[in-house]
Amino acid sequence: MEGKEIYRLERVCYNYGHQGVLPPLSALKDISFSIRHGEHVAVLGANGSGKSTLLKILNGLIFPMSGIVECLGGKVAEATLTGAFLRRFRERVGFVFSEPDAQLFCPTVGDEVAFGPLQLDLPKDEAERRVNELLNMLGIAALRDRPPYTLSAGEKKKVAIASVLAANPDVLLLDEPTNGLDPRTQVWLFELLRGLKELKKTFIIATHDLSLVEDLTDRVIVIAEGHEVAADGPRARYSETRTCYWPRI
């Protein structure tokens, strides 16, 4: 399993507004890289450089105008992402959105966490068990019957993460995970990610948070303002030449 290729992207391009009257707005240009099982990748880039777009493409939520995305040995495209492959893909790849308000859409925290497992047709008692265990593990069992939008930002983030972990994905995509969190919740998040790292989960984090990069990732992909990959390499090398990359972020 270790070292097996999970993602392969080849010359991926994405534009916004391609159907509208306005000229298309480039969001990603010529992105190529591959990611292996057990890698912990940070995607760095300025606001608007296309990090979130990239993660959405990796999660099969939007599809590139051109180029190839492969995941778990299958092609991720609108036509191929159906049936058994779609299910397998949704089971294996989890996405934590940067905006928890968008991610939390169920009436209660308990329903929220159960949503993924139920959609993936897990037996109801198994879903129930996962909900209980996750809420206890994350220390939010008391919030179970609360509507998610009445929670604090930190609590929302915990619920959002719990709702993604409930499907037990192998690959975690995290979009700006530390955004809007207080230091205590940030520490909690670091510890959680460290735990997941020990479980050999793969994760890809889009972030500005350099402490997150240094503590938890071992590879850095920098997306420049021109929406193409400006640098891609081990985190150690990135740290040494940080001054070199920094102006480009």
Binding site: K56, L61, A102, T108, F115, Q119, D121, K124, A127, S163
Partner: protein, 300 residues
């Protein structure tokens, strides 16, 4: 019992009343006023003096059975043609209110607008020109345009019956919100024979409602902080339209994000939920009772 859902603190802050501070140009603050009112209205309606955390008759009944029973009772209040039967339903409503520890003051607050509206609407029915019959009050020469204005027995009963019917229906319906948390309400709805698609959309509508009000309120406050002079009517109208459009666009973006979040976790158009516990004896009793009432009201 589950803790009562509470809005975050920012939602509870009262916004200053623009009319009082402005002094002149009452038209200026129509958006701000509306939003401030809307916010307090939503809060009061949904979070004020709610009895859902108390132990009581309705609170002890499984949510979907509770909602179904109330709907059945509302239907019977809308169906009966018999004054004694309507009186019985009023008594039932009163007993449920007491047994569910909902305060009569709250119930009255819920019912008041409908009552006032229907009272004014049905005023003419009291009088002889609308309902001819035995005059019981104001008989004699009094009148407008040569028409005699007097309350008739028939008119009184007709109007009172209509008024009682409308009021009782609102009263009964309000007991759902008063005794049910939001989470339970939507979970209850999903277990009723309503498509899950519709209930999920219903819940999302409910959530967007708050988000839209929040976005609009922020925008209105941002504008308020910049605008000093009294805005012209046309400017007010333009402002209204641009805000409405802004809300539409902001929320479409959010809606697309939510859609992606759902798809990301395996949603493909069919919502699946964990079934709650089965119906207990109390649930059957409640349902049986409400069905009994509705059958009576069909008969009478």
């Amino acid at each position: 019992m589950a803790p009562v859902a509470r809005l975050p603190d920012w939602f509870k802050e009262a916004k200053p009343d623009i009319c009082l501070t402005g002094g002149r140009g009452s038209r200026r603050g129509f958006v701000e006023k509306t939003l401030a009112n809307l916010e307090s209205f939503l809060r009061d309606t949904l979070y004020g003096e709610n009895a859902s955390a108390k132990q009581g008759l309705l609170q002890g009944i499984t949510p979907h059975v509770r909602i179904a029973g109330i709907i059945i009772l509302v239907a019977s209040s809308a169906m009966t043609a018999n004054a004694a039967m309507l009186g019985f339903i009023v008594a039932v409503a009163a007993i449920i209110t007491l047994a569910s520890r909902v305060s009569f003051k709250t119930a009255a607050k819920r019912v008041a607008p409908s009552f006032v509206f229907t009272f004014i609407l049905s005023l003419p029915v009291f009088f002889s020109f609308m309902t001819p019959g035995a005059e019981v009050f104001g008989a004699g020469g009094a009148g407008i345009n040569g028409l005699r204005v007097s309350v008739t027995r028939e008119g009184f009963f007709s109007a009172a019956f209509f008024l009682t019917r409308v009021t009782t229906a609102v009263w009964l319906a309000s007991l759902v919100v008063e005794t049910t948390t939001q989470g339970d309400f939507f979970k209850g709805m999903i277990r009723l024979p309503i498509p899950a698609f519709f209930v999920t959309a219903l819940f999302m509508t409910f959530r967007y409602m708050f988000i839209l009000v929040k976005i609009a309120e922020d925008a209105a406050l941002a504008r308020k902080s910049r605008v000093i002079r009294v805005a012209a009517l046309s400017e007010s109208q333009r402002w209204f339209a641009s805000r409405a459009t802004f809300m539409l666009k902001r929320s479409i973006a959010l809606a697309q994000e939510v859609n992606m979040a759902m798809a990301s976790r395996g949603f493909n158009g069919v919502v699946k939920v964990i079934d709650g516990k089965g119906m207990a004896r109390g649930d059957f009793l409640w349902l049986g009772f409400t069905v009994f009432v509705v059958l009576l009201s069909i008969r009478f």
